[in-house]
């Protein structure tokens, strides 16, 4: 699993080393090699490592190295692992104090084979101590292997995932809306850590301004939910950071990557579907799995300095394998388009993969090649900054998601905003706490023509408020009431919208209408428009940018009926069949239809229709991106000159080399 820049493996086949008998391992790998597989992934269950008396893992790595195959070893505790308790030692789970609790105070259950179990709390000191021992053990093991047989490690990549954090959600709330309600671990261990966090976090000087007792206003019960969201996000980031440190202590030659692994079959929003399926013996709830993919792709977590690529994991024993082949193929293709296009991909059990037809696999591999070569990518056009990635954001996010679908992203870090090269709109959640640094970074991000919407909330520190007032005093402003009342401020080419929260934050009736009108203004200001409209609401369109220009539209039909519809564009465009381009035999220009604003088409049941579109104009967005690219180039040149030329001073203000 690799990051966005080198997404070499959008499809990864899961070959769990402990599932294959050692005597059969060589034959299994030879068979995979014969089928053209040179890279596999394997979970490394904690319990399997602790009881690996037959040295299955080193033998597995040796067998791979003999065949010049590469492997991703997934170390973090994950759900959807075909090992009792997903590989977590039974003694760790048997203690009630180590169990996680969701916001409604129930256990977080995973209804997947080989057994239903309750997730442990990643904040339990006992759990983390044991887990870090496990990581140290792996680190030592890899270091020893590196010393004695360095060739074996050449093709090994260690992968640390987001683990259980995103699954700490109530099944009831998630069933109503996938990431609805408050996510996070509400266990006793978490409660203790939360209190410590609150004391420490608000002891910072900025919160004690203008006088020391000011910090108490941040610790009130009214802000408890907001603070918890920050706490959960920070705990997750710390967990990931520590895990990285533990596996990088000794095993220096091994590549270590971070990824976010979604296992839809184990997601709390699928828990009741799982129960229905178990009770009835029926197939899985396909439409729920499909919808969950739409939501999952919009959550973009951070791994150190880069966004973690997101992968969807389809198991070989959960609801997925009870689906019909057409449904499976649809989900695989959709997850590849969504996750692969965003720098991640699909992780699938190798038996499941090879049970699918050869033409389908060839088609998917063709698409994966295009994604891997960066010919197609899913660009995030708008960002939504929230304190916690897995908790329900505000109403505005729901509307943004309805309008932009997978082109909108929820993020949880200001630094991530600063690093984002693509988006032209940023909306900040009303529960976001503004510090001076956050205000400074966000207002700087606006320059270059982008649009920033921030709430007029009480959650600003004094320093942040002063900083914001200073920034806002520099440009022209006007007060507007369009749905929501807001102040529009121009900063260079960019715009800041300081919006009021309407009375009642519910997402219904008049309030919802106000938000919708406000969102229209935001999208209009930032120049974001949907590429096209579809005449039938059952069809969804996923837009992927083509590296050579133009857009690849994937029209997906997640129903079991054929749908005839038309695709309507604002201006005349020409379209061609992108599927033919997958094969590499035909160029898009060779199969173009006559330019038009409307195209009729039929999408078969569970079908994905790939269309290459030429001629869509996105002037406003492109001018912003060009300006940003120019700014970024100027900054790079200035940095390079400063480093290379002694005595060089960057020019200020209106100075140019010519005067």
């Amino acid at each position: 699993m690799r990051g966005r820049d080198v997404n070499q493996q959008p499809i990864q086949l899961l070959v769990n080393y402990w599932e294959v008998r050692p005597t059969l391992m060589a034959a299994r790998l030879d068979e995979l090699l014969r089928l053209g597989v040179t890279h596999v992934a394997s979970f490394v269950p904690w319990q399997a490592v602790e009881s690996d008396i037959s040295h299955a893992l080193p033998r597995f790595l040796e067998s791979l190295a003999d065949r010049k195959m590469t492997v991703s070893l997934i170390l973090s505790p994950e759900v959807g692992v075909n090992f009792p308790n997903s590989g977590i030692p039974k003694d760790v789970l048997s203690k009630p104090e180590t169990a996680a609790r969701h916001c409604e105070n129930g256990p977080v259950l995973v209804h997947l084979p080989p057994n239903v179990f309750a997730l442990p709390s990643l904040m339990s000191p006992e759990f983390t101590k044991r887990f870090h021992n496990f990581l140290s053990r792996i680190d030592n093991f890899l270091a020893d292997l590196g010393r004695n047989q360095p060739d074996i490690l050449a093709g090994v990549t260690v992968v640390l995932t987001g683990s259980f954090w995103k699954y700490y959600r109530s099944a009831r709330q998630s069933s109503l809306s996938a990431f609805g309600g408050a996510a996070g671990d509400y266990s006793g261990a978490s409660g203790v850590a939360f209190r410590q966090y609150i004391d420490l976090f608000f002891a910072q000087k900025e919160f004690a301004d203008p006088h020391p007792s000011s910090s108490n206003r941040w610790k009130t019960r009214a802000l408890e939910e907001v603070n918890r969201r920050y706490f959960f996000q920070q705990s997750e980031d710390v967990f990931k950071g520590r895990s990285m440190q533990f596996v990088q202590r000794k095993a220096l030659p091994v590549k270590v990557n971070q990824a976010e692994l979604f296992t839809p079959e184990a997601d709390p929003s699928f828990a009741y579907s799982n129960l229905f399926q178990l009770i009835s013996g029926a197939g899985a709830d396909f439409s729920r799995l499909s919808r969950l993919l739409d939501e999952s792709v919009t959550r973009s977590s951070d791994g150190g300095e880069n966004p973690s690529p997101s992968y969807v994991h389809w198991t070989g024993f959960g609801g997925f394998c009870a689906l019909a082949d057409a449904e499976k193929q649809f989900l695989i293709l959709k997850s590849l388009i969504l996750m692969g296009g965003s720098g991640g991909g699909v992780l699938i059990d190798h038996d499941e993969w090879f049970s699918l037809s050869q033409p389908f696999r060839a088609r998917v591999e063709g698409l994966a090649r295009m994604i891997s070569n960066r010919h197609l990518s899913l660009r995030s056009r708008a960002l939504y900054l929230a304190p916690h990635l897995w908790s329900a954001p505000g109403v505005l996010w729901g509307e943004l998601f309805n309008r932009l679908g997978p082109s909108a992203r929820v993020i949880s870090s200001v630094d991530r905003v600063v690093r984002d090269p693509e988006s032209t709109l940023l909306i900040v959640d009303p529960t976001f706490i503004f510090t001076k640094e956050a205000v400074s970074k966000l207002t700087h991000w606006v320059r270059g023509g982008r649009v920033l919407a921030i709430p007029r909330s009480p959650l600003y520190t004094e320093a942040a408020r002063t900083e914001l007032e200073q920034v806002l005093s520099r440009g022209k402003s006007m007060e507007i009431t369009l749905g929501v009342s807001y102040r529009l401020q121009t900063i260079g080419d960019g715009r800041i919208l300081l919006y009021d929260l309407p009375e009642g934050v519910s997402g219904q009736g008049e309030v919802l209408r106000s938000w919708q009108v406000f969102l229209n203004s935001l999208l209009s200001l930032s120049g974001i428009e949907n590429y096209c409209a579809v005449s039938d609401g059952r069809l969804k369109v996923i837009p992927l940018e083509q590296a050579r220009g133009g857009v690849g539209l994937f029209v997906v039909n997640g129903t079991n009926r054929p749908i005839s519809a038309s695709l309507v564009f604002r201006e005349e465009v020409s379209i061609s069949d992108l599927a033919l381009v997958f094969t590499g035999k035909v160029l898009p220009s060779q199969v173009q239809a006559v330019p038009s604003t409307q195209f009729e088409f039929d999408v078969p049941p569970y079908g994905v229709l790939p269309i290459a579109v030429e001629g869509i104009s996105r002037e406003r967005e492109e001018s912003v991106l060009a300006a940003l690219s120019s700014d970024s180039l100027d900054a790079s040149i200035a940095r390079a000159a400063f480093n290379e030329l002694p005595g060089y001073r960057p020019m200020e203000g209106d100075q140019t080399p010519w005067n």
Partner: protein, 244 residues
Amino acid sequence: MELICDWKGFQSIFYPRRRNQSPGRSALSPAYVLADDDCVVAAFAENEDLSDWTGASLKEVTSERNHRPLVTLQRKDVESWSSELLASPHFYEQVEFLRAKFMASAPEMEAPFSRHFLLEGLHSWWGKILPSSYGLFFRIEAQSTQDFLVIVQRGIVSGFHEPDLSTLGFERQRSHLEIVKYLSEKYLVPVQGVFLPSSEWADWIESEHPWREVAQSVRANRVKLVPFRWSLMTLVASRAFLGI
């Protein structure tokens, strides 16, 4: 490393996957609704998207319901079953527990699930006659042979997996009796071996009277029971021809 509860193997033996099922096939299966008092929290029907029902009131759903029979469950009950099933050792037992709870809550309803005929037999009155612990070893021969061992203890399926016979040696692996003897010694339970071609196994699963098929297959020597036990054959015959 052997997985004692190999659910993937268990599924492939006892519940072979349905490929390319037609949408109409399950059109008359029930629609399940999970309600939190009067509010629908989740709804499910095979091959139908009932997401619109989520968040609606139970009354609305009942009045709108389509051709399918409606099964309503209360969330509190289901969550209490979920917590209780953690005590069961593995997935098969957990599913059985869940189904038993469900059937107890809706005694008038016909069971929506079908259990494999062999597992049905193991859970029947046979438990009173069969030993307290025993194993059933299946070798299903097709292009590639599939081995599977089910261990039953006190009427409960306690383990299921493909046993590792690699230490047995190539010659001994070819002897059915040696395999059964080896497994009996390894797992310390009497093991009944069943050796048959995959076509027979598939026919049994498809048949309306599987036990009759089993009895006829054994009689025609298409299936080998190793060791051959008359007592076991009596049980099979009683189920096949008397239906008990």
